[in-house]
Subunit: 350 residues, 4 copies
């Protein structure tokens, strides 16, 4: 099967190339970049050197549509909604890693992104591409919107307990710690090594856009309007997101019950691991242990002192938080083994 | 004036040595360490090489008491309470950086530390050494208990708003991100470079001991029992603590009002800086900007979406979080300029 | 085919487990560790969680020999030479990642390692397991000694030019920069995160043991006694080795000639990449671009000012520098595709 | 005394501000920046917040000359030589941290910098501002050229042994490892955190401009033309330079003799420390131990195997490698205690 990547020079584009070039069922037939058109992809993604002699081509949606059966889109937010109707018309299957089709309510784009959606009629058609919540819809979808990186970590951490009805859905705090690759490949003063090395920098204490996705999906799960309080911090790593979810229990719960709720919700999920040990140094999720893999590691602790349930999740923002889930979505859409091309484990130590 | 450091081979001990050797009003007359007795202090604290030819002596409380007028104690928790009565009797002024005299209620030592206090009668005599809250008592104290590092960051962030009565004191979440030096100088697998480099590791999601101090001090401020939900994470730096305090407003508030509450509370404080900018890359507190200094940087943001007030504070855990405050306490006790020996600024970039 | 790992709880052992568990042609039938016997391997190597329920068994050479067809040994230096004769007698094929069978001259063990070799008669039988130099011998070997990590980087950088006769073989300087994982999994003060983070620490400016291997192999290549000057430095990463080889040209040479020498020497090598670009930011080898892969990246620059040829090589010390080459050796010994189980690319960025 | 900083928004400018604002003998009367004119200096150098309300002014040489008695220049290379004649005429004392007046031979600017010097007549007048070599000339100088950061580390490491005549002056290899702050404050792809974190990147294996300074000063010392082979690598820290100097002995030498040569050469130097210990973890110079201080730490090791003498030196590139030496030069020029304003020690750990 021929797959294309629209916007392949960024970090998510590079990660898609890395995964798809090694995927046994597909052939990468197009990788676009206006900036680097006609350059070898390995000049931008040096890890690919020796594996491919592919070159970037210009980012022309119509032309690219002719070159592939499935198209991955990894453009900045606000781009794909301008030409998506055309791609839909020509019958292409599209997996969009940008935010353009994640939200169902067009108003939310005005509120959280500050622009009016160009193709609001397609929002209903698009499927929110989190396999753990929407596997069946993904299977039949023509257009899949891959969740945001922090949204993925947050939703996967919270979905089971929100659905269970055990917590106060008006006092959910998500405190994220994220690596620098989430800021993208474009240099700026704030990501200059001398300025960013060693930071513990609150970069979005309030108002983060992923709030909208998280609330949309959690509300859907419990049938009530969920509101979450989200804060994001940059820390001194390149890859990885740790999500610390502070929730408050309606009534006391035992660890065994929490276990049961999570194990039932995620039974047979290929990319969910539960991390909770009473000895050793790997007692809770830590992005260090998932980098390069497609896992979402989940753990928790109960705080009797304040009736708090702390749920922790760790992902690689470019894998389970973007390209990994995108490929998982493709595998589902094509009826392949969901883990195809995604079996790589993290390195340890690294 | 002669000052001694009891337990001078750890990281806080080394930081006290660095500060006191450069302090114009004191002379370091004793630095104890059983492990390194008779070794030059610069063999353990290599940054001091060229500045001092001091050697460690054995940790004998009585002998050390003879050698100094003020004694700093930087031993592990549970040690100083065994010999403190003797030091009090001989009239020594003591600044204890360990946890042994921070809590007023002896029961709290059983609950949070797991041991019965050896000198409970001294708990009332001891002053909680946070200058911003207890300056007058510190001035007259014989025994000062320097606050815990995270407690310092958390209390300074929350004190003004808790006192103002504007927030729900039952839903205060403190999410800490801390550097590895807080774990002390003793090697272990969890702090082995290969295992600790690049972590975003939840190491105490619930049940952290500093909870007790924070609640004690905040309750005192507002006259009601405050309960806080605290979680601590290790990140990939050596020094620094960022405290993200998620609080919920009883009713809407403007940024100007929050400013007013904080500026009034901390007017003329030499080591409190307010960090809040709408442009540039230094908009919020970040430990990177305070490392090596005695500052506590404080900032905030209001989240209209969930009536949340996020307060952020950043300190150097070994400075304002330990040795810096200890020296500030000494300056107050001795009637000196409170900033004496503490005027050093952070490096930038570093 | 059944493979065992003797000494599987260290970092090289963990890397072998990661590679072999995913290798399509083998089954891991034994992983030994005296310290962790009866524990799940994922408790020590947390990245393996979800992939295996293997447990460590005791390190008994005879028993392990019964359990497998090929045995990987990843014990500390000086261990395997005590029981290797037994393994050879029972016909096991052994790939030893320790230093015990790398050197041909028993005297060299006295000189560089400080002990007398327990099985000197086997030194001739053993093959130095660097595929790029000894592929044919490896194919037929019963005992393969995997090169040291720095030796691998140094030899691969220098072999072509030393063989060419173009440089002064008495003035070869190898300046290594290495990650902390090379120091192993055992905590110590020097690798404590607070002490090791941010270092640029010369840890072996002279007298490094890998000198012996490098000289042995380079001398073999050019038929003369080569002497090298080696220095090793620890830097602030976990994985990776950069080798900067300063050599001096007998007479001027052009870049094209150097290219020719290297391309001819390494034609068709699956894990050698040449990195030399005149634009962009990936102009020379950098371990950052190979971590997790089995590549050795090689580049060079000519310094007309002092008739110097600088050759640069970058490897992942746990992959091409240890476990990766070990698996490559196994593939050769078994007649499989040499890249089997080793096709993974580095992550970028990471 | 009034001091000005011309080009105060870069990292060296910021470091000069930090030092001079705390210097007891001077008052900062001007800090220029065209980009940030009229902005508070603490917006660019956030560590200065709370210490100063100084604002940047436009970079007009004539105006600035009126505002100060001593002027520090921290502009990019090639700028100060265009207006230096004017500053000399009006009698200003100038300390130039840029490269414009370091080299004595105008031809060297063509060869190493690629431009013709605008004020070649001033090159003789300028003093190379390394106090350890030119203290007396600095005392009487009107124009001091502060050495390059790597040049400082290299020259200080090599000066005593080169002068002693014990080594081969045609085979001196300087292998530098440097932090990212040396690349300056301007963001670029190569210093983007995601691209620069974790590098061990050879960025100038041959042809580095500091070669010219090092050769000029070492030749002066030994009366013969010295040629050095220099390579520079970027590593994963912000501040610090380690210089590994590989030299070859004409005849065997003992450690005691090397000690004697170095101690005699640097007797009474306030900022040279010798680091060489046989136990502990601080056996050799490491930038980690000097960051923030003005020290140059020097150590060595003899390699009998190849008659090599390895000399190691470590500095903070923004301190002893730039602003620290500049202030030391000012202290000498003004007849003050040479350590004034420079007594700060490094932090440990950090």
């Amino acid at each position: 099967m021929r797959v294309g990547i629209f916007g392949a020079s960024g970090y998510v584009g590079g990660e898609l190339l890395r995964l798809l070039l090694a995927h046994p069922k597909v052939e990468v037939s197009a990788a676009t970049s206006n900036t680097y058109a006609n350059e070898y992809v390995f000049r931008v993604h040096p890890n690919l050197k020796g594996r491919t002699t592919l070159k970037f081509i210009k980012s022309n949606p119509s032309k690219v549509a002719d070159l592939c059966d499935v198209l991955f889109i990894a453009t900045p937010h606000g781009v794909s909604s301008t030409f998506m109707p055309h791609l839909m018309e020509v019958g292409l299957r599209v997996i969009d890693v940008s935010a353009d089709f994640r939200l169902k309510n067009p108003e939310d784009y005005v509120k959280w992104y500050g622009w009016h959606h160009k193709s609001p009629e397609l929002l209903k058609k698009a499927v929110y591409g989190l396999p753990e919540l929407h596997r069946e819809e993904i299977r039949r979808a023509q257009l899949v919107a891959v969740p945001g990186c922090m949204a993925t970590a947050g939703i996967l951490a919270l979905a089971p307990i929100v659905k269970s009805g055990k917590i106060d859905i008006n006092r959910i705090i998500l405190d994220f710690k994220v690596g620098s690759s989430g800021a993208g490949a474009k240099p700026s003063l704030s990501t200059h090594h001398s300025e960013h090395f060693g930071v513990i920098r609150p970069y979005k204490p309030v108002g983060h856009r992923h709030t909208a996705e998280i609330e949309q999906e959690l509300s859907l799960l419990c049938g009530e309007k969920v509101k979450v309080s989200m804060s994001a911090h940059a820390v001194n790593v390149v890859r990885g997101i740790l999500s610390t979810c502070h929730t408050f229990l309606k009534e006391p719960i035992t660890p065994v019950e929490v276990w049961r709720i999570y194990r039932e919700f995620y039974s047979n999920e290929p990319f969910i691991r539960f991390i909770r040990d009473v000895k050793g140094i790997y007692r809770y999720p830590d992005p260090k242990i998932v980098v390069g893999s497609n896992y979402c590691d989940i753990g928790f602790e109960i705080d009797d002192h304040t009736d708090r349930l702390v749920i922790l999740s760790a992902i690689d923002n470019l894998m389970k938080g973007a390209a990994g889930t995108a490929v998982q979505d493709m595998n589902i859409m094509c009826g392949w083994d969901e883990s195809e091309g995604l079996r790589y484990l993290a390195l340890h130590p690294v």
